[in-house]
């Protein structure tokens, strides 16, 4: 009795989050996010130096501040998510990742919408941006060149950072990281649109700036909307999906069913898997073949389910006489 009680407590306080191999990936992701924040600070400084505090800069400021949200969301949730479960939070804190994802996705959607609205208004008002001369270290030249240089600087690192995050995002099933990679994409595309816009002004095409920004803004808003829908789905306990497409059921779901059915003495099984941030919570209903199942067998099934994927963190195996129907569609 005492022994079993101790096991039970051990099970509750267990905080295995990542297998050893994934822990290194996580460290890399954390480094990438700090690097992103460091880069964003210098990018803000560069843009401020190049464009001053003009009207156009106000828009750029809002974008820059929104870019900070995903990396911050990642670093915050990374500290919270592996905290041990408490009496008040018996399921632990994994969900914080889903909340971080919601924040990151909202930031993306806001940034894209803001770009479209801002540029749309500029286009409608036929605003013609004046760009005059600037003097740097005694050399006087058209300020557009300085802006192009600053934009080029803000373009290259996000390309590299965004690409570097995609691998860890997949391996860690970390959607905050994935949304942040999208934010990096938004950052470099916005910079590219900015370069096109400044060069457009240079050759007298005042509308090109706004048009390029609208195109990019629409693509960013679309990314944001896609991520936001996934984030809301996760918080609504939708079925587990792969990290970058909510329509594709995560292979672990079928994996669990196969693993359980491979176990002798199980007549039928129903699996519910939901995502709690970067880990999964699975409820497995099993109908024993001859209406009897031993505790040891249930434990074996649990272990088999856990072995399917490292993300299968909370696994509940429930023996039932008939499968629950409820609102579950047939598999």
């Amino acid at each position: 009795m005492r022994r079993r009680g101790a096991e039970h407590v051990a099970g509750l306080a267990e905080r295995i989050e990542l297998p050893a191999s994934k822990r290194q990936v996580l460290q890399r992701a954390v480094r990438l996010e700090w690097l992103t924040i460091a880069f964003l600070v210098t990018a803000v400084a560069a843009m401020y130096a190049a464009a001053g505090s003009s009207q156009a800069m106000k828009a750029a400021w809002i974008e820059d501040l929104l870019s900070f949200l995903p990396p911050i969301a990642f670093l915050v949730t990374n500290r919270v998510r592996s905290k041990e479960p408490t009496v008040e939070h018996p399921y632990g804190f994994h969900r914080s990742v889903s909340i971080g994802y919601l924040v990151a996705a909202t930031a993306l959607l806001l940034m894209g919408s803001f770009l479209v609205v801002e540029s749309g208004l500029a286009l409608a008002a036929a605003e013609r941006t004046p760009i005059g001369l600037v003097t740097v270290f005694g050399h006087t030249f058209w300020a557009g060149w300085l802006m192009v240089a600053a934009l080029t600087y803000t373009l290259v690192p996000p390309v590299l950072l965004g690409r570097a995050k995609l691998g860890p995002a997949r391996e860690l099933h970390d959607k905050v990281l994935y949304a942040d990679a999208d934010m990096n994409k938004a950052d470099w595309q916005t910079a590219a649109a900015g370069i096109v816009g400044v060069l457009g002004i240079g050759i007298g095409l005042w509308w090109l700036d706004a048009v390029a920004a609208i195109l990019i803004g629409a693509s960013v808003a679309h990314d944001g909307w896609r991520n936001l829908r996934t984030a809301l789905g996760d918080l609504m306990d939708s079925r587990a999906s792969v990290h970058d497409d909510w329509r594709t059921v995560h292979p672990a779901v079928d994996g669990i069913r196969d693993a359980v059915m491979a176990h002798g003495g199980v007549a039928a099984v129903q699996v519910r898997v939901r995502e709690e941030g970067h880990v999964f919570h699975a409820e497995v209903f099993v109908v024993p073949g001859d209406e009897r199942i031993a505790l040891g067998e249930l434990e074996d099934i649990r272990d088999a389910v856990r072995a399917v994927d490292w993300k299968l963190h909370h696994v509940v195996v429930v023996p039932v006489r008939t499968l629950p129907v409820g609102n579950l569609p047939s598999p």
Partner: protein
């Protein structure tokens, strides 16, 4: 898709840009080209010592600067007098090319006009620094840049004349 589009547009612009480097920046309405060897339309609101008019005789720091600028691009000057707000409205509508009248960097016309870089800084009556600028039509960046270059060349003499400092 938009990524590829942006990249190709950027590449095209770089090609166009580098082959016509001297023509960057260009005016959206070709004002500088039109005024060169033609007519430069200047709005002026009186504001001594920058702009003064007496019996049709125009004097003042900015009048001299504009006259020299017009000469440098071989342009005739077509003057129009009026209040600042009215002139800026006309500038925005495109019936004027440049507006002068002791405007400063803190001018509220930022949205309607392209202000030049300050060409001189004087001390205002309240003791705060007052950087002086001229206004040109929005989007006419070739004109803006040409005017700014002209003002930059005269910074020293203007500073001496009005007892101000170079910006």
């Amino acid at each position: 898709m938009s990524t590829r589009l942006i990249t190709s547009v950027a590449a095209a612009l770089v090609v166009v840009g580098s082959s016509a480097c001297a023509a960057i920046p260009a005016d959206t309405e070709g004002t500088l080209e039109r005024a060169s060897g033609g007519v430069l339309r200047v709005g002026m609101s009186e504001h001594p010592p920058w702009t003064e008019v007496d019996d049709g005789e125009r004097t003042g720091v900015e009048v001299d600067l504009i006259e020299e600028f017009a000469e440098s691009i071989d342009a005739e000057l077509e003057w129009q007098d009026g209040g600042e707000e009215h002139l800026i409205e006309q500038l925005h509508a495109g019936s004027l090319d440049v507006v002068i009248g002791g405007l400063t960097e803190k001018s509220p016309w930022m949205e309607q006009a392209a202000l030049t870089r300050p060409y001189v800084v004087v001390t205002s009556s309240s003791g705060s620094p007052e950087p002086h600028v001229m206004a040109s039509r929005m989007g006419e960046n070739a004109l803006l840049v040409a005017l700014e270059r002209h003002l930059e060349q005269h910074e020293a003499e203007v500073a001496e004349r009005v007892d101000g400092a170079r910006p």
